[in-house]
């Protein structure tokens, strides 16, 4: 269980700043303003691993997913794929990388061209992969069969499909490149629960059959719990906790992870429990504060947290968190430690 698979994707100190657009008047007077979406992210995805990336809107999880496939250029740090630095690779050599790393998105409507049949939508990736013109329709049919649709869908248009079926097509198109690495950005968030389960099951079958490595971006801890081996929790552009999914969810170390788990509805098991909601809103990414980003909302905040940003503390071979509560340097009375696992224990489901 603790064996660490060989790394496939390695991110080191990845930063991304977006420049804010300004009017001409403020351009004369103010300093340029930026939004810091990623603030030095380290993350490694191992061979065959499914890693979950969770966090709230604006935490930078989608930016991180896009940065991984070079859909947004990063402003610092390095991205290595199988040892090759792809951070600043030119487009031409990048093509090889893009064949191996594919991404699927939440919104299936805007992912598919409304004027192309599914057969046509699958043509391009197959051509890029070098499948001959004659073989493409057969191969396209096979792909649709793989995702549970079948060749009878080749001549349909996206609007003729339900949301779940469209997501299947998007998955088929990603598979057309025979990728090794799949990034799924909230792939089921816009689907109803009965369809969510179908798509998740499909992704898991494909992962096992094709030995894919996966980054699964989601705001839903319960989903992540179901399908990932490892989970990284993002807050305000940083990964504040990372570790094996069952460990992190059973005994969260970082106060933000604890709050996230406490806020997740738990069905009947959650009836009558004390509902202490985390106060405040996520920080404004255009004016980052000094120290720990979570300090203004943290129930365990200490003076040091408002001044010094915490560094990652290793808790075990696979587990790390960025929190002063775990700093040996920050000497505090024992009762200032975060509540133990028992207080935030996951109650069982309602079945």
């Amino acid at each position: 269980m603790t064996a660490v698979p060989a790394p496939v994707m390695e991110l080191t100190g990845v930063r991304k700043e977006f420049a804010l657009r300004r009017g001409w008047l403020s351009a004369l007077t103010d300093r340029p303003r930026t939004v810091l979406a990623l603030d030095g992210v380290d993350l490694t995805v191992g061979e065959g691993e499914v890693i979950g990336l969770v966090g709230e809107s604006g935490s930078g999880k989608s930016t991180l997913a896009y940065a991984m496939v070079r859909l947004v250029p990063v402003t610092g740090g390095t991205i290595r794929y199988r040892g090759v630095d792809v951070t600043h690779q030119a487009r031409r050599p990048l093509r090889a990388f893009w064949r191996r790393v594919q991404i699927i998105f939440q919104d299936t409507h805007s992912s598919l061209n409304p004027r192309k049949t599914l057969g046509q939508a699958l043509q391009d990736p197959l051509r890029v992969r070098g499948v001959s013109r004659a073989e493409r329709p057969v191969e396209a049919g096979n792909l649709l069969t793989q995702v549970g649709l079948g060749p009878q869908f080749l001549h349909r248009y996206p609007h003729e499909l339900s949301g779940g079926q469209r997501q299947r097509v998007v998955i088929a198109r990603a598979l057309a490149m025979s990728p090794e690495f799949l990034i799924a950005d909230e792939p089921v968030s816009s689907l109803d629960v009965s369809l969510q389960a179908q798509i998740l099951n499909l992704l898991m079958q494909l992962r096992a059959r094709l030995n894919l490595s996966m980054l699964f971006v989601s705001h839903d801890l319960a989903l992540v719990n179901h399908i990932t081996n490892r989970v990284a929790v993002m807050y305000a552009g940083r990964i504040v906790e990372v570790g094996a999914t069952p460990e992190v969810l059973r005994a969260p170390a970082h106060p933000y992870t604890q709050a996230l788990i406490a806020a997740t509805p738990k069905g009947l098991a959650g009836r009558g429990r004390a509902h202490e909601a985390l106060a405040g809103d996520p920080p404004d990414p255009s004016s980052p504060s000094a120290g720990c980003r979570f300090a203004p909302r943290c129930p365990h905040v200490m003076p040091v947290c408002r001044e010094v940003a915490p560094a990652a503390v290793r808790l075990s071979v696979t587990r790390a968190t960025e929190c002063h509560l775990f700093d040996a340097a920050a000497i505090q009375p024992a009762d200032a430690r975060p509540r133990g696992a028992a207080d935030v224990a996951l109650n069982g489901g309602t079945r």
């Binding site: 009965s194 179908q198 898991m204 509902h275 996951l346």
Partner: protein, 318 residues
């Protein structure tokens, strides 16, 4: 005790290629005073339409084609437009999923709150302004007097939903209809908003009709739950009973396909197939084509909602 809201055999139809298609096909549902009732179902199941009908907000080309909605014993469907306006806001209020589109971006939050209060309570703007600040403080907005001068874009998503909840309860309605009020919000903010609604229920004695697709949230928050599918109520029961002994095959399937914290496994149960498309002729049970225990009778006769213990179930097998 007389029910606060009684919906009987409500039918709502929309024009369709082959005449009128019923999107809501005979919904029956009660909300008792002080009760929180959850209305759950997948998109297109008719839960929002049912709520809009209670507010008399079904727009053409949609039409209420049958049934009755009684509020405090009075028939809502036969009210005049003026009477409807008196009902909305003062008796029944509604909040929606997207708090940004529910507020006018061109006016301050204070102006919009004051308008609501003046319209419904007929008091002076000066008095209404004081009342508006009070409302903001009730829903937990810090420095309410100053925030009245802010525009909607200056609030975060969670704060906007608080403002809307404040607007909705400003005139002390007895029923709050909340249509996916937390779906657009992050989970920590969702917890804040739910805590607020929970507190207002106690402080103002509100009844709540809570529409959502989130089963775990319903299980935590509601006293009773109705499960809708393809425009009809499939099962309705006290929350504990519904989740511990679901009697309709659709309810059972729905509960089983939700992943939960504290459980993990390789395969999630899923419901194969898709709901019937609106306008398709349904002779029997709407769930028949996806039902694991379907019988011959299910294809030809629609099962009525009937009592089984404390639950009411529309299934021949229950």
């Amino acid at each position: 005790m007389a029910a606060l809201l009684e919906i009987r055999d409500l039918r709502i139809a929309f024009p369709h290629a082959s005449g009128m298609a019923e999107a809501v096909r005979g919904v029956t549902l009660d909300v008792q005073p002080g009760e929180a009732v959850g209305l759950v179902g997948e998109s297109g199941s008719g839960k929002t339409l049912t709520a809009l009908a209670v507010m008399r907000l079904i727009d053409a080309p949609g039409r209420i084609v049958g049934g009755s909605i009684r509020f405090r014993g009075q028939e809502v469907l036969s009210l005049s437009d003026a009477e409807c306006r008196r009902l909305r806001g003062r008796q029944i209020s509604m909040i929606f999923q997207d708090p940004l589109t529910s507020l006018n971006p061109a006016f301050t939050v204070g102006r919009q709150l004051v308008d609501v209060i003046v319209t419904h309570q007929g008091i002076s703007r000066r008095l209404a302004a004081a009342r508006a600040a009070e409302v903001l403080s009730v829903v937990g907005i810090p420095r309410p007097e100053r925030r009245l001068a802010s525009y909607p874009h200056e609030f975060s998503g969670g704060m906007r939903q608080r403002v809307l909840i404040g607007m909705a309860v400003a005139c002390r309605p007895s029923l709050l209809i909340a249509d996916e009020p937390t779906t657009a919000l992050d989970v920590t903010i969702q917890a804040q908003v739910i805590a607020l609604i929970r507190r207002l229920r106690v402080e103002l004695g509100l009844s709540v009709l809570f529409i959502t697709h989130n089963l775990d949230l319903v299980a935590e928050f509601c006293d009773r739950v109705a499960v809708m599918y393809a425009g009809a109520v499939m099962e309705e029961a006290p929350t504990e009973a519904l989740f511990s002994t679901p009697r309709h095959p659709y309810t059972r399937a729905l509960i089983r396909c939700v992943p939960r914290l504290g459980e993990s496994g390789v395969t999630l149960d899923s419901i194969e197939g898709a709901p019937p498309s609106p306008g398709s002729a349904l002779a029997g049970c709407a769930f028949a084509s996806r039902c694991p225990i379907v019988m011959d009778r299910c294809w030809t006769e629609a099962p009525p909602l009937r009592a089984v213990g404390s639950q009411r179930v529309a299934c021949w097998a229950a």
